[in-house]
Amino acid sequence: MSTQEITSIKASRTRRRYNLPLTVVLALCTLTVLVPLFVTVSMAFKSGAQAVQGEAFTLPNPLSIEGFIEAWRLTDFPVSFGISVFVSAIAVAGAVLISSMAAYAIHANWERRFFKFAFFYILAAMFLPFPVLALSQIKLTGMVGLDTPLGVGILHIMFHLGFNVLLLTTFLRNMPHELEEAARIDGASTWQTFWRVIFPVLAPMSATVGIFAFLFSWNDFMMPSMIISDPSLQTLPVVNQLFQSQFSSNYHVSFASYLMALAPSILVFVFTQRWVLSGVTQGAVKS
């Protein structure tokens, strides 16, 4: 290959390095995501007088936090926020701890029939969508007094147990045996082995599992709306639905309320992106 050819290939490569028209097209496509978010933010910061006109694409003038103050007061935001945090915390802690303990027990005893059976038993739940179970779960949770945020947290753990155990056992299977053996030879008990070896090794996978548990739990509407019987103990998404009629055309209030419910999950995503992105891919390969 002559030097001339090489330079021409190099030149064409640098020229093709960035496809400008495609970049422009994709940038325009991001508007489909950005515009609804922009509308949410801009409506939230409008004054009552401006918001009531219902114009989506005008900028707030004057900038006002009236909507936030009113939404905070009207929906009793600290309470519903606290309940959402509570439910998500249970779901995350459960997803990370309970799933990894179960996965470890199954992994360590794979050749035993009972543990193998338990694995497929838990996995079978992946084929049971919530609508199928909902009515019976409402009955049962009501009977035992778990028609509460705690009950929703537990159900969130149980609904994702199958998927999480699948991810974690696959991960453990690829773990070098020596790690566990070494701990054993040192005389560590199963309990110590789990905490000192298995749990740290699982950490990257647990991070993904935990973040998805948070996102799912924080955003879920269907389950809390069905299971939690006391409206004053509802999570943020449900509260926003309950207050629809009271928001009426006070759009600054409704959008401030929406923004306060949306912001946490967007923030968590921005700071934990790589686990979210890798999680989706691994999930697709497994499920």
């Binding site: 303990m101 009515l135 929406y258």
Partner: protein, 319 residues
């Protein structure tokens, strides 16, 4: 991206700093002698409570639901076995049949829309473009936001902004809200559902696209194939496995449609956009427990059939 386990491992290989003084302490007792791999108490402790909770939370309601679908229970009090009466009634109930038809039709349309857009975005985001990472981040955001809240935002846009814009340009058909139009309301649900489902689907396509070796394209580029031809003749066939996974995953998810519909139309106008999930939940308020459990059982069988098709196809792909 499919090798991401390797790069996510980095933060973890600083193991828990728990190895304090206890780490040096040697276990004095010779511990369990004999074969070490037997399940000790801790293993049972790790699994059994979870298994019991799982049985009560998931398995019992599932069995209960199927059981009561053969009774006339209203959710409490006495009940009798009625055999297949609920099923027979259900299969001639226009409201239930409509919700099955609506849900399946809506899911099918949304699967096509979601997968085509997600695929094209994935191709775009794996091409030589500027600001690739930033754009990928932006495109993924819809996946992480609350479906019902974002549906409320779109509800505002469809009910107020779209008609206002249509009036300004004088486009008659859109001057009134599509949410109030029984023939068009479903379109809004397709749009918002696709909007939210595209990122996850797109990420799976990206994982597949980055695994295609470059020389495949280089060879065809030398043959003078246009980008479109490359896309159709090379990329799409190579991606068929991923397309299959995504079509099944999205279809399965869309069958459970609920949150977004509540936020946009609440099943209306009338019952035009009532999904199966909404119909089942109505059994809670209308005292039709047993009857709607029959609906749920049929719904479960449909989901199961799709899952079995999925397993069959995936296994074939692995071979």
């Amino acid at each position: 991206m499919s090798h991401s386990t390797a790069d996510t491992r980095t933060p973890a290989d600083t193991p828990a700093p728990a190895s304090g003084p206890s780490g040096t302490r040697r276990a004095p007792q010779p511990s369990t002698s004999g074969p070490r791999r037997g399940p000790d108490l801790t293993h049972w402790l790790f699994l059994l409570p979870t298994l019991i909770a799982f049985t009560l939370a998931i398995a019992l309601p599932a069995v209960m639901g199927i059981f009561f679908s053969f009774t006339n229970s209203v959710g409490y009090g006495d009940w009798d076995f009625v055999g297949l009466a609920n099923y027979r009634l259900m299969l001639t109930d226009p409201a239930i049949l409509w919700s099955f038809g609506f849900t399946l039709g809506f899911a099918a349309v949304t699967v096509v829309v979601t997968n085509i857009i997600a695929f094209l975005l994935a191709v775009g985001l794996t091409s030589q473009i500027r600001a690739r990472i930033t754009m990928r981040t932006i495109f993924v955001i819809p996946m992480v936001v609350s479906p019902i809240i974002i549906a409320f935002v779109f509800q505002f846009l469809f009910a107020r902004s779209l008609p206002a814009a249509a009036q300004t340009v004088g486009f008659g058909p859109l001057e009134s809200s599509i949410l109030a139009d029984a023939d068009l309301a479903w379109v809004s649900i397709v749009i918002v559902t696709a909007w939210q489902a595209i990122p996850g689907t797109m990420l799976i396509y990206i994982a597949g696209l980055v695994a295609i070796p470059d020389d495949v394209y280089e060879a065809s580029a030398l043959d003078g194939a246009s980008p479109w031809k490359q896309l159709l003749k090379i990329t799409v066939p190579l991606m068929s496995g991923y397309i299959l996974i995504n079509v099944i995953l999205t279809f399965k998810n869309f069958l459970n449609a609920y949150d977004i519909i509540v936020g946009l139309t609440d099943g209306g106008p009338g019952t035009a956009t009532r999904s199966v999930a909404m119909t089942i939940f109505s059994g809670f308020t209308d005292g039709d427990y047993a009857y709607q459990m029959a609906t749920a059982t049929i719904f479960f069988l449909i989901t199961l059939a799709i899952a079995l098709i999925q397993l069959r196809l995936m296994r074939r792909k692995e071979k």
